[in-house]
Structures are given as C-alpha cells and as structure tokens.
Symmetry: C2
C-alpha cells in the first residue's frame, strides 16, 4: 500500500531476548521484560498493565527469557499486550472496519506483512431498529435504547470476528488491534455515547476525538489487552468516515486542489490541498442511492448497473450484475438510466417524460406516467420494472442538491471548477457511478473524465491505512485539526442556485460544454 | 508538611468555566471540557476515559458549563475523574496506607488543605493465614491462595474506607486517590502478584515499579475512576516501605551522611546523602520486637515500655502504657530492661545472669534461669512476669546481628561511624526505643544522642508525602533508581564481627566510649 512501510507499524510483534535473573542482577521479571522490549525498540518507552504483569514471571520462565512481544504504540509510549514463544505462529492481526449506516465492511489484515487476509461486509444490524440515523438517535433516547443499539452492533461485529478467526484458523487473541471509521452518529453508537445532541441545534457531539480505547471499553471481541483506534469527527455532520476518506485519497498531501465527494443521502464534500481543507455536508436526499425508486435496490445479482439507450432506435441495453435477468436497479444504474433517457430525448431538460419519444414503453399507472425499463417477459421477477415521473423528480432534486452544494462550497472558498485538477468520488456507491452520466445530468461538474477517480470504500481504506501505519494514524488527527467545517447556509442564493440546477444539465449551459 | 505546597498537588479539584456551545463553536462536549481544563491548568495535557465521557454532556448542561473538575496527574498528562457543581462540598480526599506485615495504618487526607482528617490502624487480616511473610508466600502458592490473601487484604481495606467515609460524613467517591507503601511481598499480595519467586534464589520480584494503577485493578473501594500510587521496590528485600522511609527522612537531600534503620524482624539499613544511597537488609530475628519473650507483646495498655533499675538497691521501676498494672513487655521495653540489667550488674557482658546480683528475683523454671520482672501481686495478669536466659540470648543474637549489619554496610562503603551525623530510626517500634539503652547494649552505634531521630511510621509518612506532592511522588522513583541494594554477604568476616558483637556492648570497648 502506497507510502506505508512495515517499519511504521504501531502494532508489532518483535523478538526480545533477556539475560535471565541472577543474584547480582535482581531486576524484577516485569521490569526486565519492559527494559528488554525498550532496548529492542531502540530506546522507546514501554508500559504494561497490572493484569498482564501477573502472567509475566511464568511466561518468561517457560520461554527461557527469550520471547516475542506483541505491542502497540499509544499516545506517547508502547504497551505490551502479550508475549509468545520466539517461534510462535501465526502472526499478529488487525481489523479495519467501516461502520456504515447501512452496511458494515471489515478487513482482516496480517500486521506483519500488511496483507489483506479477508474482507467481508454485512448489514448493519441496527437497521432493524431504524434504517436511518435520525430514527436511531431517537431510539437511543428511550430507556435502554442506546445500550440496545450498541449491543446489536458489537454483537454482530463479534460474530464476524469469531467467523473470521475460524475461517483463518487463528484465535481472536491474534487480533491485537482494530481501526474503526464511521460517521459521527455511528461512532457514538459504537462507543455507547448518547447521540441525543447530534441532531439538535447547535449539533454538538459528545466527543470529537475518541483516539485509542481498550476493546473491553466497548466489549469488542479481539485480544482483551489489544487496542482500538477510533477515528475522530470534526462535528456532528463530518464524521470519521470522511476523515478516513481524505486520508485514503491523499488529497491533503497534493499541491493541486482536489474535490472529494461522498455521494449518499448526505452529500459530503471536501475541497483543498496540502495547505488547506474545507468540508461541507448537505442533504442530497436518498434518490441518488436509488432509495426512492420502486425498483431501487442495493447492488447485487440481477441488479441493473448500466443502461445504454440507442437514440435512433430507442432500444434499451441493460447490463446486470452477474449477467442475470434484471430484478431491480441500483443508484448508479438509475443515474445511467436517466442520463440515457435525456440523451435519447425521452425526458426533457426539466426531467419530464416526453411521451411521444417513449412510445410503447410509456404507461399511466395511478394517474402517473411510468416508463417500462424492462418488460415482464425479460425481467427476473416476472413483473415489469418501471420508473415513474415522481422517481425522476426525486432524482432531479437530489442531483440539483448535489450540484448546488458543490457550487456553493467552491464559491465559499473563492475558487472555480476549473481550478480543480482531481475529483475523487468516495463510497461504494460512488465507485459504480459512470461519471459521464453524472456529468450529463449535471450532478457532477463538467471536468475532463481523466480527473475523476472512484476510490471505492474510502472509509475502509482510510481505516486500513491508520491500522498499518503510525504516521497515517497520526495524520488522522492532523487532518481533523486542519479541516474547516463550514455549515451549508441555505439562503436565497442557495435556493436560486438549486432552482437553476434542477434542469439537465443546468440552466447555464456554459457550465457543461461537453453535454449536447 | 515540610516542603509540600498545595500548588504541587497531583490530585486536584479546579474550577473550569467554558463557553457554552453554539453553531459557530461546535466543539464536542468532552473536547470542550478537556480544552477548558487544559486551559485552567495552564496548558497541561488532559485525558478522559470513555466511561466518564458518556456522562459529560448531561453534567455540563446541568451545571451550565461551569464546573469544578477532579483530576489526577498520570505519568505525563492529567486525567479527569469527575466534574461537580462549582460550589460542591466536600473536598477531594486521599488515603495514605502503610501495608505492614502485622499492622496496617491508614490516613485520610483532605487533598485541598493537606489536613489529616483521621488516622487509623488495624491488624493485617492475612495474619490469620500466617503471621510471617514466608508462610503467606507459601500459602499464595496453593490453589486460590493468592486470591484469598489479596481478598482478605482488600476487603479489610474497603471496610476501613467505608467506615472512614461514614465517620467523616463523606462518600467513598470523594476519595480520589490512594498511596500505598509496603514491603515487597505485601505489595505483591496487594496487587495480586504471585510472590513465589521472592523467597527463592535469585529472589526476583514480579514487578519493581507498579506506579499508578486504577482502583478497579485491585478492587479498592475509592472512586472507581480514581488512582492508586503504589510504591516501587528495589528488590525482594528492599520494599516500598523503606523507600517511603527514605522519602520521609529527607536524607536523600542532605549533604551530610545519614543512616536510616528500620528495626524489626529484618533490619533494613540505608546509608547515604544527596549524592548516593546504599541499602542493605539482614535478618535480625524477632527478638528485637519482643516477639520471642514469653511476656512479649505489642504496645498497648498495661504494656511495659520503660524500665529503670537502681544499681544500688536493685529496685525496679517499670512504666506501662496508660499507667495500668503491667501485663507484658514490648520490644522497646525489652531493650530498656536488658540494658538496665547490664548497668545494674544483673547480667554480664555475655548477657548471662549474675544470680548473686539478682537476689530474690532469680528463679529456676524448667531448669532455666528466669528473672522476675514483675511479681504476681503487682502484675495486671495475677501472674509473675519473667524473662528467661534463653530470651536474653535471643535478644543478644538480634542486637549482635543488628550491629553487625550496620558495621558491615558502613565498611562496604569505606566509611566509619564518626562520618555519620544523623541516625534515623524508623518504624513504630523504633520510635519507642530509648536510644541510650540501645547504645548501652551495643545494638546501635555510640553516636551523640542528639544525632538520633525516631521518625515513627516512616512508611505512612512517605506514603502521605507522595500523595500530597507530585515532586515527592516523582522523588520516589528517583530514590528507587538511586538506591544501590547490596546483598549482605554472610562470610567469615561477618561471622567474626557477629561473634564480637554478641557482647555488651562489644568486645571492642573503644567503639562504645560512653558505655561504662
């Protein structure tokens, strides 16, 4: 992984060889181990807790004062987690976790080699309490609610930790560290902190910088004396996931200006370079994730992720995941579909259906115009897959919000689109977006396509980097301290901009010279 | 207390006033509190644990962002323990504890004023398992033995903490810190560390420097987020009690050379000044504590603590504690008695009875000579109180051991008696010794009497100082690192010296010019 060296690990297993005690050398066992480890680390300070101290004399004698020590580096000194035989296998492992509101992704890493041993993702079990953050914040305020949300999450994570260990043939005790990135509310729920004030003016989190905690502080089932790094937040609406995103993008090291956008229900935007970082978040609505479409669903087998419409014949080519018969459409497919409908003239610049262009695909259901995307004979469900005018309207509002947020932030820092060289799109969803389609819709700016870079799950990527490298872990706090978070001021100017952005691609066509 | 300023406290309660949060100032509650506290401390770093973080938002809001914060200073930064209303009473308290093998002494201190609120002492409950350290070490090696010894101790301490709180009308949560000094084995048992290797060559403790631990690490019933400072040891036979003694004596700051002796079953000796400290310990035998005499007992009402014999009339004047009829004799009374017997010619320079001088007080019981110290008609028990030849012999061996240990250590550092200006006698027992009697016996060196200073319970005094002052707490580690512990080498020279010291005061009378 770029810029990450094994020498920079903050969770390590190192050989420690001591002289056995003697009458003339009566240093206590624990102090002997600590001194030996400090020497092996080139003089850095090492600490040890009382519970582990109790086990040291027998372990040292068992291994003849020649061991390997598992350690992690805290704020200022190293901490002994365990000692094992000099030839002990397997390695020390760590877990990088992206705590998404809907999906949780985890990655098991060998901390000696840096190798990804396995990656897994699963539904956030809190979804059963409420699909969105606000519902969960309210639930947390009820008697026992916070504890229930935390337990749901921790138990599910522990299940996964157990399965990972079993599949890898290791013990959960081999997992010495974890690195956790999530939005501010998810991080609060993970830590058992009441998110009550997050959604109430003036929107104050309990905690900005959780830093390093012990697994038992939250009940995480890795090595009990291990360590958990929890990403900080820069406010209620600027979470650790986005800080991890900045870390993963590396935009904070570049001379050129970049934009990082995490496209989702909330559009989170970061602008900047190695000298400054400005962040902003605004509600874009769930339409971008396909959440409002009747046929909308998360990416999975049979889900449409790409659409091409031949403008001449009006013929649809849909691509599905795994090539199965289509069963629904994901957010990125939606954006492709609507952009293609526009290019084929089937919707106008307001995003309204042009029935004469849609022909036999047009249906009126419940007094509303619907377009048949997939006829029942071709669908995997046996039903027709349709897109209603209302669904397009929702997407139009979302794409307008997205564009307006970007425009507003760029204006705030007195820059223009052309000043930006790179445009990073973060999030699993973002990695499926066809940037060309997003530009056609006017959702993303009309920059050269080679400037777009889809980074995938940057929250997980950032968590991984912070787990593997002390420099990166420390960079997390630097990023947090450098980011200026600006509140999106929804004033008249914003509303004017929003209205102008509700057209395809925009009322000001000069902003989108590449769109026909 | 000398040299201890309230400004040097490492457990403090300080006012912290914050600006309440606003849209333009959205720092999280916990970070706001931490920053405010750091500012109040003049910029020093402050940390907080996750469990307390959970309570901060409600507490801050309850007190309108104007609080007093209870803090302690760790190795490098301060830690928040609690926040209370700005006018909250009472104060923050701390507990200084001397963990003696037989007796435990504890002192409750107001950490704002430094005032001793109450002092208490009680039997070490481990006495029921075994009166001496060796028995307890063996007991700790049995299944569940270590846990039982630790529980006995901690439960008893917690009982006392509870009673102290009740009597003072405070909560145990007001006790934010504790400072614990004890010998190496007692400290191990307090910490739940197996003392198995302490009494086995090469005599290696589990741990030299416990430093700061959390109350819950051992189950101590003070504030759960408080802190416990545990004195370090410099080896199996040089414990935290003696390091506390050095701290209390202040000998490590003086230009002149001093001797510090803790007289007990083990004679522990420290020589040195501000430039160097050498320590040594040797078995002196229980005789010095009155432990072998049939009438020996610990100091208490009716116990003889001073004896004067008129050499002319052979009349005994005995003083008892509280002036009650005599019921027994304590160690210091024993030393007085035997010195007076010698000065009255009732024993010779070998410590053997001279029957013709003892007259009607001489009895033969079980074929052994006994001296009647108190006749039955005068005693509080209705029985005669006697001292046998065997008991004097034991005392002679102990006093000889004491003198030999002192002589040997002084010889090791190439100094002589006359090089020492001050002679500190530590221990509750030591404070009752009449130094003149100890000199007559040849147990302590023949230095000017104004050079002797009985310091009382120096372990408790040192624990108190370390609790009240960061400089003193840090000095504890400095002392530990500076002390050179030398093993008492019981070679032919030692044995020769020991034989010479088995006379009163010594075969070399020039060493004791003041003794007739």
């Amino acid at each position: 992984m770029t810029g990450i060296s094994p020498k920079d690990r903050w969770i390590r297993r190192i050989p420690v060889r001591m002289t056995p005690p003697a009458i003339k050398d009566n240093t206590a066992d624990v102090d002997r181990l600590v001194k030996g480890t400090e020497k092996a680390l080139g003089g850095e300070e090492v600490g040890i807790d009382l519970a582990f101290s109790r086990k040291v004399p027998l372990l040292l004698r068992e291994h003849g004062y020649h061991v390997r020590a598992d350690l992690y580096k805290g704020r200022s000194s190293w901490h002994l987690v365990n000692i094992v035989a000099p030839d002990e296998a397997p390695s020390v492992y760590g877990l990088a976790v992206d705590l998404g509101t809907s999906m949780i992704a985890a990655r098991l890493l060998d901390l000696e080699t840096g190798e990804v041993k396995e990656e897994t993702s699963f539904l956030n079990p809190q979804i059963h309490v409420g699909p969105d953050i606000l519902t969960r914040i309210h639930f947390a305020g009820q008697e026992g609610g916070l504890q229930e949300l935390q337990s749901l999450l921790i138990n599910r994570l522990n299940q996964e930790i157990q399965s990972l260990a079993e599949r890898q043939g290791i013990s959960t005790k081999n997992m010495v560290g974890a690195s956790i990135a999530g939005n501010t509310t998810m991080t609060h729920l993970f830590l058992g902190l009441d998110p009550y004030w997050i959604c109430r003016e003036p929107y104050i989190p309990v905690l900005n910088r959780p830093g390093l905690i012990r697994p038992r502080d939250v009940g995480l089932g890795i090595h009990e004396r291990g360590v958990v790094f929890v990403f900080p937040n820069a406010g209620s609406y600027f979470g650790g996931d986005l800080i991890a995103g900045i870390l993963a993008s590396g935009m904070n090291h570049q001379e050129e200006f970049s934009i990082l956008v995490d496209v989702g229900t909330n559009a989170e935007v970061v602008l900047g370079n190695r000298d400054w970082l400005v962040a902003c978040a605004g509600a874009a609505g769930p339409a971008l994730e396909g959440g409002v479409a009747s046929m909308g669903m998360m990416a999975g087998p049979g889900v449409i992720d790409k659409v091409v419409i031949d403008p001449a014949s009006g013929e649809f080519q849909v691509r599905t995941i795994d090539g199965l018969s289509p069963v629904g459409i994901c957010g990125s497919g939606m954006i492709d579909l609507v952009a293609q409908l526009y290019l084929a003239g089937m919707i106008d610049i307001r995003g309204k259906y042009v029935p004469e262009k849609c022909g036999r695909r047009m249906r009126t259901i419940d007094e509303m115009q619907h377009l048949i995307v997939v006829f029942s004979k071709d669908s995997g469900t046996g039903e027709t897959l349709t897109l209603s005018q209302a669904e397009i309207d929702a997407l139009m509002r979302s794409k307008a919000a997205m564009h307006t947020i970007l425009t507003t932030v760029i204006r705030m820092v007195h820059l223009e689109w052309k000043d930006f060289r790179r445009f990073y799109v973060a999030g699993t969803f973002g990695s499926y977006i066809n940037p060309r389609s997003a530009i056609v819709l006017g959702m993303l700016p009309d920059l050269p396509l080679d400037g777009y870079e889809a980074l995938g799950n940057t929250s997980l990527a950032g968590a991984t980097r912070a787990l593997l490298s002390l420099r990166k872990r420390e960079e997390v706090d630097e990023i947090r301290n450098r980011v200026t978070y600006v509140e999106m001021n929804v004033n008249q100017e914003f509303m004017n901009e929003f209205s102008a952005a509700k057209f395809i691609p925009h009322t000001d066509r000069t902003l989108f010279p590449s769109v026909p």
